[in-house]
Subunit: 322 residues, 2 copies
């Protein structure tokens, strides 16, 4: 099933979110406005807003209130992308020029700060301490995840636990929080909030693992950048972790070829060896395991229509090719 | 009058703030904790917290509630310093190594993000939409100010208005907001809130102009870095603006000596010519004018003891040598 088909069922509400995003991002300052608008139009799956909306279907659904949560979470995601780009020396994201390459690193940093603050402001629609605490906590966890990623770059001896903890902070938590806040804003029962949070968390883990797989198996055209970019930048993800564990010789090759300072462009051979080690299959298995856990949570939730969409979305996200 | 003497009158409450800052900054992650703690211990005048506390004396003073606002504002200030350092290539701030030089730029960016989020979280003690809106708005204005500063770097044709708007956003607004939030948290009357806001704004303008003057007249020992650093980095401040307007020849010299890419280390001659142009005296006059406006606002405020302290503080800030 394609994403567009799934989204088709709640197209009108997604349009409301897009419009609200567009209006929210009309920064008072031209440079910031331009930067944010470009990012907005670069697209994206709007996973977090959609999860907010669907989670809210388990309570009292009011799109005019919910949209503030949905927009706030997408803004946090956008801000983190902007700051990621400052960091990753990524010149292409989603095939478009990033804010960083278009303006410069320093503007990108403040644009990210601005978008973070805007996210907080948008969430202030709700006069609720707990919403603010959850949002600020999610941002802090993301920062910790990023700092851990920096610390662990080019560290070829890290273990699985380090990897899982990092992707939890970097990706899964914000999706879990999207579900939880949607449920809170819709006044869903506490146990439903908790289950939705777990559902989002498991989907988020599967999502990131799939992303990490795609970085190895995608084509230049699909990725908008050469494959193996994560590893090239010293970011050790699940397929590589498995491959290095399985093939100590490969670990030695990676260790000596990929360093912080020396250029190394052709990842083809390393990618092929990771594929040959079974690293991709292993990562797919783990991703599927998280997906199954997500389905289990979904199963136990009340029977509302949104369940079907969540099921379709989770399957899409965890097993997508692109 | 020395700062320590003025602070002596409310020493116990400042200690509460320091303790709260210390506890708040205990990040869950070692790198971020270390980074924040170093910054905290590097000191600073804690102007924003003190303004929160004094403003609250015009209403119902409750230090246990107020400390959250005070800490939140100091954290925003700290976060902005951290991000400033990423940008300014400043290797020294307050004579200590900055987070950036100690770790690296990327960690500094996330440390700043983390501290921003912590500031928002701290303010969530108050279940108040308006407090969140004011805080997020202040952060956004600061971002705009920073982006404008970047845009205007090495632009020798900017006018006074550009300068004043920039320092308003970069410095004065957060001090104004400190006063306003202190007053709001203490339930002071609306007109008192407004007056305190204006008072903070005028003091903030005077504060920044004084800072900009000190960058020219300070010694290496006082500044912890060589004089003329602002101008060297292309940041055009009031004394330089005046001097270039008064002495077109000097403008030509500055224009040709100071460029983004070429090294130029000895600022002595340029600094002396700016001094000779009367630029320092002019900036002092403008700073004093703002200070007088601040005093006028103070005059019209109800007679509480805090007025005396505010008066002393404003005089100190606007006329300080260091």
């Amino acid at each position: 099933m394609k994403l567009a088909e799934i989204y088709g069922h709640f197209q009108s509400d997604i349009k409301i979110i897009e419009k609200e995003l567009e209006e929210t991002i009309q920064a008072r300052h031209e440079v910031l406005r331009q930067a944010s608008t470009d990012l907005l139009h670069a697209g994206g799956k709007r996973i977090r807003p959609v999860f907010v909306l669907l989670a809210a279907r388990f309570g009292t659904y009011d799109i005019q209130a919910l949209k503030h949560i949905a927009v706030s979470l997408e803004l946090i995601h956008m801000a983190s992308l902007v700051h990621d780009d400052v960091i990753d020396d990524a010149d292409l994201r989603r095939g478009k020029k990033t804010i960083k390459s278009q303006w410069d690193n320093r503007v990108a940093m403040y644009a990210g700060d601005y978008i973070f603050a805007k996210a907080v402001q948008t969430a202030a629609y709700f006069d609720s301490r707990s919403i603010h605490l959850i949002i600020s906590d999610a941002i802090m966890e993301m920062c910790i995840g990023e700092v851990e990623q920096i610390r662990d770059q080019f560290n070829w001896d890290q273990n699985l636990r380090t990897y899982f903890r990092r992707i939890k902070r970097k990706t899964a938590l914000l999706i879990a929080v999207s579900c939880k806040l949607g449920a809170i804003a819709a006044n869903a029962p506490i146990d439903v909030q908790r289950r939705l949070y777990l559902f989002g968390y498991y989907v988020g883990m599967s999502f990131q693992i799939t992303d990490d797989i795609l970085d190895f198996v995608g084509t230049m055209e699909q990725l908008g950048k050469p494959a193996g970019g994560d590893l090239r930048q010293g970011n050790v993800t699940l397929p590589a972790l498995y491959a290095m564990y399985k093939e100590p010789k490969l670990k030695t090759i990676i260790q000596s070829s990929l360093t912080k300072d020396e250029p190394f462009e052709d990842m083809t051979d390393i990618i092929n060896q990771i594929k040959a080690s079974g690293g991709i299959e292993y990562a797919v298995t783990i991703s599927d395991r998280y997906l199954q856990k997500a389905f289990d949570q979904l199963e136990a939730l009340p029977d509302v229509e949104a369940k079907t969409y969540f099921l379709q979305l989770a399957s899409y996200i965890g097993r997508r090719k692109f």
